[in-house]
Every structure is written in structure tokens, then in C-alpha cells.
Symmetry: C2
Subunit: 385 residues, 2 copies
């Protein structure tokens, strides 16, 4: 159900040939209200795609009528022609929905540099077709249309106290903080102001999508959007809503991790007893970005030396000679020296649990990453659509 | 000739079984004077191997009699026993050379966590054997003994105005700034004070080894050492010496790049017209560390979008929509849009020239890196010696 699980939303996913495979490639999600509250967070990459530049303006007033998303082309670095394409997409949707173009968000994903006349024509056709096919059961179709190299759609739903949150996500590579090459649309029928939605979304992404660092590469097109219709008539308790939203975002983030391009391990890095949460994140991220460590995990090699070499590059408070490292439940390093033998560690399961105990404070953070594999190299050297 | 090209030096390389292959694994280089000036730069990783901790103390007074280097074990995170091994190595060399242990540098390279009783016994035996075999023609043997996954030794010699500089290097992976997993020993018969040597070495490494970023991974054991014997009797013109030393270091750095583990392309990234040299380096490094870009080059794919996505993560002064990107002489991106067609770029040669023109200033820097290949993943997932 994803984005149509909550009341007040309709969606569609259609195929217009942006993908050479003929699979669905344009999704539309419409908020039928009564509220039209929206919030979004965007890539922090300074190289921003045209839809990002557009959507950052649209979200300013917190009013969103609909969002149009396409796969099969990022419309990034496509010049003023590309920006006009995004603008025309919003105008087309606004005209058909009897709304203002300034209330239509646009997202694109695919190859950077793709955005010519053919691309424009197909996106506009998809917008028209998608709006014609809008349905309160269209969430599943929409989640399929935003996929690129994803092997499966990502969807999640939570219901509590009379309100529902549902969402869809795509992303399989270029997954790094400040979001990822990810597009996420979350809808809720809870009664929220745009300010509430913004605060809740920022909290939730900070502890979910921002902790997913599959390959250290930050995209130009990332956007996570939350739309609230208020159709349930229920005003949620803020803490409860925030908690459920964060859990749903983490669920989607873990689905992204589990489908990361070419990965053979999902690595969960827990950094504990750090001086602060920020430092725990910094240390975790240094490990998540260490190619040698990631290649070792691919080879089922519990090479803890590479963990220490990675965290030694950070400025976080800890003594490199008083750190414990655990892999899948086995303490392989303690106090600057080897502990249990490498042979005691079983790295054959897909899930790899790495725990780094810094022994200086009480803060912790979990970072999600993947291993570095032959298939990752293959998929990213051959990728061109 | 490497470290014995300059007058006043003797060296040896011997095999004591640290490597399972039986190849040479302990090298000794001795300065016979008349000067005993030394300088060294070390990894900036906070996780430092025992030989680094030891050598940082030895170099304080600028007097170095000899350096002992072993491959086949990093002696890092091996506890106080490991530090004692390094100390005993220096004492053994001092005793046999009639010197002070405080004037003996020690370097180790290999797997982190390796440094048990067997390792100690072999390193001490190698120190003794190496000193027994010291020769003024021993430079070649020494350069072979420091190799780990290197496929070939790295050596360079320059002679000018009556003085000579020679050097050897090892390193094939974990090559990143603040040096790399590299051990480098450079000798000269020029008349230099320790202060001169230190200043010249810091300048030379800053524009050579520090610009080599093969895989973004910083080692725990890196050390670059310069020893001066004064045996030529010639005091060099400082500017000339610095220039020749920098050229020799760049020569060795390029040899390291050309032999990087599993690489199929040597990528030279020239960032030009930056606001400052520091920003040019920052921009170049962001590209050198982008796995998606590096995988694309492996696949001979001129994916300039990944270049822009990489540099967009930096804080350097430039307009992402006013940047030119050239690949092997073809301008593929200009002013935020596609320029020449991808098909015009031939990425089949091993050397790949990437030029990024930021168009904001007049500073430039060149960063050396490699592509991300199947073989890199393979070698680093299987590596265990």
C-alpha cells in the first residue's frame, strides 16, 4: 500500500519508455486533503539536480498538492533546458489537478546528464498518464515506478492511535549521508501542521537515512518528502508520531541497505561509549567508508586491524590502545591487542554486527553500510541507465 | 642502486622467513657518515604501529645511524610485547654497529596484529644477518626486502652538482594521504643539517606522497625517511636540492601508483583555477575517493556526472554550474551541461587524465589515484600476509 495506506492520498505508476526495459518509470502521488501540509529534506550536495532546485522552492510555504517522480534520467547538469523540463512538469500536473504549479514537487533519478527533448516529452506524457490513472490503491504501482537498479520495491506502513503512516523508497547505490541516491515519499493522514511535519521529518531522517552510508557517495538528486492529509481527523501525540515515523524511516533505510548494489553483507556498525553521539557517528562513518575493511568483510575476513586503522583517522575522543572490537559476538581486539582468535568469528551470514567500544563516555550510534564486492564494481562500471 | 647510490651508505636485504614465500623480508640501511643527519615524516593516523611510536622518538635529535625495516608483519596493535620487539631490534642493531639504540629507526609493514614471539625472533635474526651482509651495493637487495604485495621494487636516483639522492619505496594498497602504507628511505651524500633535511623532506612529501590517494585508506605504519651522510663534501644550493628531492619523491609516488593493488588505470586528477592550492587538493581528493567514479573509469566509462557529484560534497569555492571537465583531452562537461559526446573519450590507455577547471582563481594541484577494480576487491578480501 505504501503511499496510499493513509487516507486522503491517491497514486499511480505508469510506463512511458524512460526505462529501456519498458518497466514503469513515472509515479504520481496526490494529497486530496483536507490538509495539504508538506515537508522535505534534500541532498546536501552542492551539485543539485534541477528537480531539487525546483522542489526546494516549492516546499518553502509548506503546501504540497502532489509530487511527480521519474526514474530513467536524473535531469541533473542538463542546463536551463532541464530546469524548464522540471517547471513544465509541475505546470502540467497543476493544470490537470486544478492546483498551483508552486505546490507540485518534482523528483528525478537516473543518469546525470540525461534530460533532452525526448526525456522531456516522456516525463510530460507520464505526468498526464499518471494523473489519469490515480487510484487510492496506487501505492504499489508508484513504488515500482521509482525503482532504478533496485531489485525490489521498498515499502512500509505503520498504524497507531487512529492515524497511519505509509511510505515508499528507492535507492541501491550512491547511498551516503546527507541522504543517499534515494527518493522517499511518506504520507500520513494524521493532522499535522507543515512546521510539525518538518520537525518530525528532520528528526526521523537524522537517525535513519542519514545513518545509511552504503558506499560513501552522495547523490545530486536525494529527496525525502512527508505529506500530511489530516484525513483521519486525529491529531497525534507528537512524541508518539515522531517515534513511529523514525521507526518507519529506519525500516525503509534497512530495506535500502539490504538491496544495495552488489552487496553480499549488510554491516551494522554500533559505536558505543563515545563522548557524544556526533563522535559516535564520526567513528562509525570512518569504518563504513574504509574500502579495505569493506573488502575484508566481503571475503569473510575478520580483519580488525582495518577497523582500528579507520577510526584512527578521526578526531573523536578515545585512546586507540584502549578500544574493544567485537565481530558477530566475538571480541577480536581488546586494549590495543588481539583477543579471541579470528577463526572464532563466523562472517558467513549476510548480517554482520560490528561493535566498537570507545570506553570514554556513554553515547552511541549505529551506522549501516555494506561490503565492497566484485558485483559492486561490476554494476557501477557497467551502469549507464 | 637506490639507497646506496649516494656515498656513505651501506645496505642489505635478507630472508628470515617472515614471508611465507621465503623471499627477502628484512632490510638494513646504515649511514657511515661523516654526517649522521636524519629526518622523517610519519602517518598522521592516531592508530600508530609500535615502530612508528619508537621512530618518532629517535628522530627528535636529528641523529640517525641506521634504519631496520621488515615486511611480513606490521607490529601494530601487538601490545607492550610488540613495543619491546621494536626496542630490542634497535638495541640489537646498535650493539652490532657500536651505536646508540636511540639512533636506530625501525619500520615494519604487513598485517596488523602480527608481532608474536616468532615474529620477534625472526626480526632480531634478520637484523643480525642484515648487518653482517651490509654492502655498498646493497641498495637493490634492500629494496626487494621491503616489498609486500608490490609486484616490483620502487627505486629512484638523481645526481646533480656533485651530490646524489637515491631512494627506495614500497606500497601497493592502503595508499592515502598523510602518506600511505608506504615505507620510503631516501639517502643523500649532500652536506645537510638535520633541520635542512627536515624542511626539505616536508616540502617534498607534501607535493608528492601526500598527493597520492590510491584508495582513501590511511595506514598505521607509514614512514618516509631522509638520511644525509655529507660524504660528497658538497653543500647543495637549498632550492636546487629541494627541487630534485621533490622530483625524486614524485617519481617514487608515481611508481607506487603504477603498482597499486589490482588497479587497471593510473588516474591523474588536475584541478586548476582554484581559489587556493588547499582547495584544489580538497577537490581533487573528493574525486579520488569516489568509488562510483573510480568504478566507472575501470569500465572505461567517461561518467562526468560522478565527478560533479563528488566535487559538490566539498566546501571549495566554485559554482557547480560553471565547471569544465576534461577526460583524456576531451571536454565532456562545460557550464553545468554536457559538451562533447562520451564516445569521443578513449579511456583504454592505463593513464587517465582528468582535468577539472573551477574557474575561480589561479591555483592548481594534481592528485594521483587509481580505479576501483575487481582485482582490488579480490586482493583486499583475500589478503592475509
Amino acid at each position: 500500500m505504501s503511499v496510499t495506506a493513509a487516507q486522503g492520498f491517491a497514486a499511480a505508476g505508469v510506463a512511458v519508455g524512460l526505462k529501456s526495459t519498458g518497466k514503469p518509470d513515472v509515479a504520481v502521488v496526490v494529497n486530496r486533503g483536507p490538509l495539504k501540509a508538506g515537508a522535505a529534506v534534500f541532498t546536501s550536495n552542492r551539485a543539485k539536480a534541477n528537480p531539487i532546485i525546483w522542489s526546494q522552492q516549492v516546499i518553502q510555504d509548506g503546501v504540497v498538492e502532489a509530487i511527480v517522480l521519474n526514474s530513467g534520467g536524473a535531469n541533473c547538469f542538463t542546463g536551463s533546458f532541464g530546469f524548464q523540463t522540471t517547471h513544465q512538469t509541475a505546470e502540467k500536473a497543476a493544470e490537470l489537478l486544478d492546483a498551483s504549479a508552486g505546490d507540485i514537487l518534482v523528483c528525478s533519478t537516473g543518469l546525470i546528464g540525461t534530460g533532452d527533448e525526448v526525456f522531456r516529452a516522456k516525463v510530460l506524457a507520464g505526468t498526464e498518464l499518471g494523473i489519469a490513472e490515480l487510484s487510492e490503491d496506487g501505492g504499489e504501482a508508484a513504488s515500482l515506478a521509482i525503482m532504478t537498479t533496485d531489485s525490489r520495491p521498498k515499502r512500509a506502513v505503520r498504524t497507531q492511535d487512529g492515524w497511519t503512516i505509509g511510505g515508499m523508497a528507492k535507492g541501491a547505490g550512491m547511498l551516503a549521508p546527507g541522504l543517499a541516491t534515494m527518493l522517499v515519499v511518506i504520507t500520513t493522514d494524521a493532522v499535522l501542521t507543515a512546521e510539525d511535519a518538518d520537525a518530525h521529518l528532520r528528526h526521523a531522517t537524522r537517525v535513519s537515512f542519514d545513518r545509511l552510508d552504503s558506499d560513501g557517495c552522495m547523490s545530486t538528486n536525494d529527496q525525502v518528502t512527508l505529506l500530511a492529509s489530516g484525513a483521519s481527523g486525529v491529531t497525534p501525540e507528537p512524541g508518539a508520531f515522531r517515534e513511529v515515523l523514525a521507526a518507519l524511516c529506519l525500516d525503509l533505510a534497512e530495506q535500502l541497505q539490504g538491496d544495495a548494489e552488489g552487496a553480499s553483507h549488510d554491516i551494522r556498525i554500533l559505536v558505543q561509549n563515545a563522548a557524544s553521539e556526533e563522535e559516535a557517528v564520526e567513528v562509525g562513518r570512518s569504518i563504513a567508508r574504509n574500502n579495505l575493511f569493506k573488502a575484508a568483510i566481503f571475503g569473510n575476513d575478520p580483519n580488525w586491524g582495518r577497523v582500528l586503522a579507520a577510526i584512527g583517522t578521526t578526531q573523536a575522543a578515545f585512546d586507540p590502545y584502549d578500544v574493544d572490537v567485537w565481530m558477530n559476538g566475538v571480541r577480536v581486539c581488546t586494549a590495543g591487542g588481539p583477543d579471541q582468535p579470528r577463526e572464532a568469528v563466523d562472517l558467513t551470514p549476510r548480517t554482520t554486527d560490528l561493535v566498537v567500544d570507545l570506553k570514554v563516555g556513554s553515547a552511541s550510534a549505529r551506522i549501516l553500510t555494506n561490503d565492497l564486492t566484485h558485483d559492486y564494481v561490476h554494476e557501477n562500471s557497467a551502469y549507464s541507465s
